[in-house]
Symmetry: C2
Subunit: 348 residues, 2 copies
């Protein structure tokens, strides 16, 4: 078991490694986005927080760029050239933006990071076509990496994109299904959340021509990290403090979202979950407010708050184990472990 000692954080409260790597990846992402046709660039610049709705610079920094950082570390872990890490960072981040632009629209989400989502700001058509353009641009960026392993990298990335899309398709299906099992839900999370983190964690290594065992360890790290992240996210969807998260209290119960702890509880056959069942299987557009807190309390009493955090910790510990086994420079290993902890627990 790794003894984890958190790194110093920067002025923005983020781990040092994120700030350092963002210095490298951010200009590359900006350069690539600037190749888009004007209207498409505007939507993506807004979505990334670089600009306001009117296209003026926002003065705000972009996001935390966790995926780009993982991509940089994935080539450094196998002592590959930074240029493959950069190509991977840009590609993975653009795929991430593609999926957010489309998902926000499909899910009807109107706010992201305290601002209207892109489809609200620019219209559904603009969000769809900009997402499409970002996916094509991401593929372009891998195609021009210059690596002798470009084809392998592209095959890997495109499969992960396919899984990401399948995960979102499953999530959409869940909305109208009553029989979602914990297994279904794990499969959805593995696709929708873990696949792209897996991609970020291994693409740079694949482009660098790393041996298969190293690539497998990095992939495993990313998958475990992704599941840990999703479990914590699901915990916050029920028990999160809205003043910290900026998300509504009891949000996933209110929207009857079939998340990991909720499907686990429903599947458990546990007797004391009447309010939860009323919430999840009730009629009407939204469950009655007074039931939401009761359902959350039932879930805690039946041990599912503990369960979801235990599961997250166990995935995190598997992610750490993959890093320990890796033949990588020690500082890179330390950064990977740091990021795993940050990604998993920053929301709590």
């Amino acid at each position: 078991m790794t003894i984890y000692a958190p790194q110093a954080t920067g002025a923005d409260g983020l781990p040092r490694v994120l700030g350092e790597l963002r210095e490298v990846t951010e200009p590359a992402i900006r350069e690539t986005v600037s190749r888009l046709h004007l209207g498409l660039e505007r939507v993506e610049s807004y979505h990334r927080g670089w600009t306001n709705v009117d296209g003026e610079p926002s003065g705000r920094p972009g996001g935390k760029a966790v995926r780009p950082a993982l991509a940089m570390l994935s080539s450094r872990a196998v002592e590959g050239p930074d240029e493959y890490g950069i190509a991977s960072a840009v590609a993975v981040e653009l795929v991430h933006d593609f999926s957010l632009l489309h998902d926000d629209l499909m899910d009807g989400d109107t706010r992201r990071r305290h601002r209207p989502t892109a489809w609200v700001a620019y219209g559904a058509g603009a969000a769809i076509i900009s997402g499409d353009a970002l996916l094509a641009l991401a593929i372009d960026r891998v195609l021009e990496s210059g690596s002798a392993h470009t084809l392998e990298g592209l095959r890997f990335m495109n499969r992960r994109v396919g899984e990401l899309i399948e995960g979102q398709a499953l999530d959409l299906e869940f909305e109208t299904r009553r029989d979602v099992t914990l297994d279904d839900c794990r499969r959805m999370a593995a696709g929708k959340t873990a696949s792209l983190l897996e991609c970020a964690s291994a693409l740079g290594a694949i482009l660098s021509g790393a041996p298969d065992d190293q690539v497998q360890l990095l992939r495993g790290y990313g998958q475990e990290l992704g599941m840990a992240f999703q479990l914590v996210d699901d915990s916050i969807g029920i028990w999160g403090d809205s003043t910290v998260t900026g998300k509504p209290v009891l949000g996933d119960l209110r929207s009857r979202k079939k998340t990991l702890p909720i499907t686990a509880a429903l599947e458990s056959g546990n007797g004391g979950l009447d309010a939860l069942r009323s919430v999840m299987f009730g009629d009407g557009p939204e469950p009655p407010e007074d039931l939401l807190e009761a359902a959350a309390n039932e879930l805690s009493a039946a041990g599912f708050h503990k369960w979801v955090l235990d599961e997250a910790r166990s995935h995190l510990s598997r992610a750490e184990h993959h890093v320990e086994t890796l033949r990588a420079p020690d500082p890179v290993k330390a950064d990977l472990v740091e990021l795993a902890h940050f990604v998993t627990f920053r929301q709590l």
Copy 2:
């Protein structure tokens, strides 16, 4: 100038070459689509006309499969193996479906081939995510072609996809712009329509490792074909006979669409186009019905009906010229010429 003698047509009234090549490409497309997750496969099978909304076989044949036929001919033109033509046929057709699924939604089109469009039948989310899945699947299909020129082929296809997306983005922008020039409009059509026909016409040759001059001729053929097709399509949008086309009479005028003949006319400074200007720049959700016919008559009187068909013929003749210059087996050349005529004039 080629002396063009139309081929015999099959029982379905389609040129022989389309029917023959569809026998080869259709099973390959079905196999690839069957790899999709269940809900995604359902949407695509419906969109292609294979099934009804409930997923039951429709008993109807699929579409004409013009792009797959061009893709098959593109490898045969350079005496490459059919398997590269097939990989290209599947990939290009899936890209086509991706773009139709998204475009119908963005454009708010509710009918396609006499049935509700996919987003009407299954919801906007299903249309978005299925389109996304098809784009990823198309790339997968090229990645597994087995050609030593896969990377080259993918680079070529992905650029054409980027142009297609840019064309659609321009088209969306045109809706709120009053200053669309003929050049803007040509650029939009080159992206939205011609790029994918260019891709279909050359991808198989690129995967076959054809010399650059042959690839350039096939690309030129596809581009010219695409422009000819769009010009005729724009003619039908104004002067088409709805009993033949199944589209509403004067449709492009009613929806104030900035098409090639309309932007050409507006840009001409021609004095006798008052009704056209009232239609195109009027307020209100739709122009008054009585002005539509007047605008169409003005356009004819000012020579723009003749102009659009002359332009189409001149692009078609350039497409034929590219075929003549090609070092390809004569029967393949004859098929390419046949398809160019069919694609251009089948709608008239």
